[in-house]
Symmetry: C2
Subunit: 337 residues, 2 copies
Amino acid sequence: MLKIAVDCMGGDYAPLEIVKGCVLAAKELGYKIYLVGDKNRIYQILETSGEKDNPLLEIVHAEEKIEMNDPPSNVLRKKNSSLYVAAMLVRKGEADGLVSAGNTGAVLAVGKFIVGAEEEVERPAIGVALPNPKGKTVLIDVGANVDCKPRHLVQFAVMGHTYAQEILGIKNPRVGILSIGEEEGKGNELVKETYPLLKNTKLNFKGNAEGRDIYSGTFDVIVCDGFVGNVILKASESLGFAVVHLIKEEIKNSWLAKLGTLLLMPVLNNFKKKADFAEYGGIPLLGAKKPVIITHGRANAKAIKNAVRVAGKFLNTSFNKKLVENLKALIPEGEKV
Amino acid sequence: MLKIAVDCMGGDYAPLEIVKGCVLAAKELGYKIYLVGDKNRIYQILETSGEKDNPLLEIVHAEEKIEMNDPPSNVLRKKNSSLYVAAMLVRKGEADGLVSAGNTGAVLAVGKFIVGAEEEVERPAIGVALPNPKGKTVLIDVGANVDCKPRHLVQFAVMGHTYAQEILGIKNPRVGILSIGEEEGKGNELVKETYPLLKNTKLNFKGNAEGRDIYSGTFDVIVCDGFVGNVILKASESLGFAVVHLIKEEIKNSWLAKLGTLLLMPVLNNFKKKADFAEYGGIPLLGAKKPVIITHGRANAKAIKNAVRVAGKFLNTSFNKKLVENLKALIPEGEKV
């Protein structure tokens, strides 16, 4: 049976929504869940939910918690925090994966240093599957590694390829490197140096991708350094908010528009479902020894349940085994780390 | 009287929409327009529009044109192209500004090397005013300079500040540097090195901005290198397309949703107006000796007219004079180029 450690104290709606998400995960997925955090508060919520005797739900006490503004350097010192304790369960092999809605930098820190990197992986990276009109595009790295070397980007490409293949079911993922211009030779120094290395791998490398390709579906995997990926991801999210706000402002003063919106609700809800992070649950730190799933700080119960499901999918598809095989098989000897 | 040179052969709808845009500009703005390109084709369009005798519209013949895939290196050799000839009119002082819907790399090349950089400016940069719920945020650079040094970003900040003040009318623009984390010390090497320099200027520097701040209105100016800015700009645009596509797909199968959309049309059109590049016309290459306005490749007549209007605004506000003053006054001696 799969066992997932969930940091119950991280996130805007912790512990209530997190614990509720654990309950959903145990019920719907049948996994064993370690609920890590303040045992009294967690117990209370389980009791109210009538789940205190569910054998799939096991509380693991942790005195402290990581705050949203705790710097990553603090995180590794706060050994009694729920996040650290949860990560240690994974490190010791008691749990098979980790889910947290806490401070992303903190989750990254325990992912890299407590759970640790998989064999052959130099730097774990965050891959996110973004929606496009035809399916999904994996953007990697979106924030785990700020200043990267070309060989890191080559590894990210293989991680993204493996993610697209094993998790998204894309047979022969088309891989691109994010740049500003289609032709070889366009881009910054990092891109220009990485391009020939990627060309030399056995990946289905299609050359430079541009910003517009991120949401167009012309690539299945787009590689970039974590600085660029992070600002794109956050800018996209804020663009969504700004658009919704501007449209709401316009609607406010018109009865007809309000009626129109009402009629459109089913469509908008369907669309929201496609774009909503709560539906896909969480973003994986690829290349960690065991699944480390980072969910949005605003994660609700459903998002947590789906994050546990994502962790399970990584385990059930033997993602890491495939990743190590791919790193060995797809990157030529001379380019290996 | 202001005189603007318009490259009539660049852009997806050239020359028809470009020439029509010139006609609108002459009529509505009263500027003298040099229509640069194939004299026969331009004349025909003017004749059909009943404008062949308008003294504000003067055709300047150019044999060749820049293709969308012409590399920038070709551009400076194609001296008979409409773009090059238009840029030369500006260089020689016959025109006061340049508008082109052609290949952005090509417009940048003539902007930098034919029109040239203003006194004190080391590298002209593209600043774009992006919408947010409260107004506009200037993102600079969005593609003119790929690999940047800290002192370039400091200059971009002053350019963005001047743009926000003179063109957008923001009194004391809040300036940020794009990074991945709010606190000083977060970011990549370039950001970490630039931060103290910006802190040391007389700008209203508010520290690190994150991706989410681009569309939130918490900053008036956000500085980044041209690689990062370009991918963000293009990703944002493609996200917009993807969202519209996904919603359209959802609407297709529902009569109620179709009716709802119909009722919402006035609102959506208002919104489109706010977001539509055709409305604001063009993006300036800041720091060039004279206004160089780059419009979208898909520019229609209205976009061209508005781009001419933007060029006029830069001239009427004595933007360059203010920019040079600001570069001298706001950056401390030791940090100057």
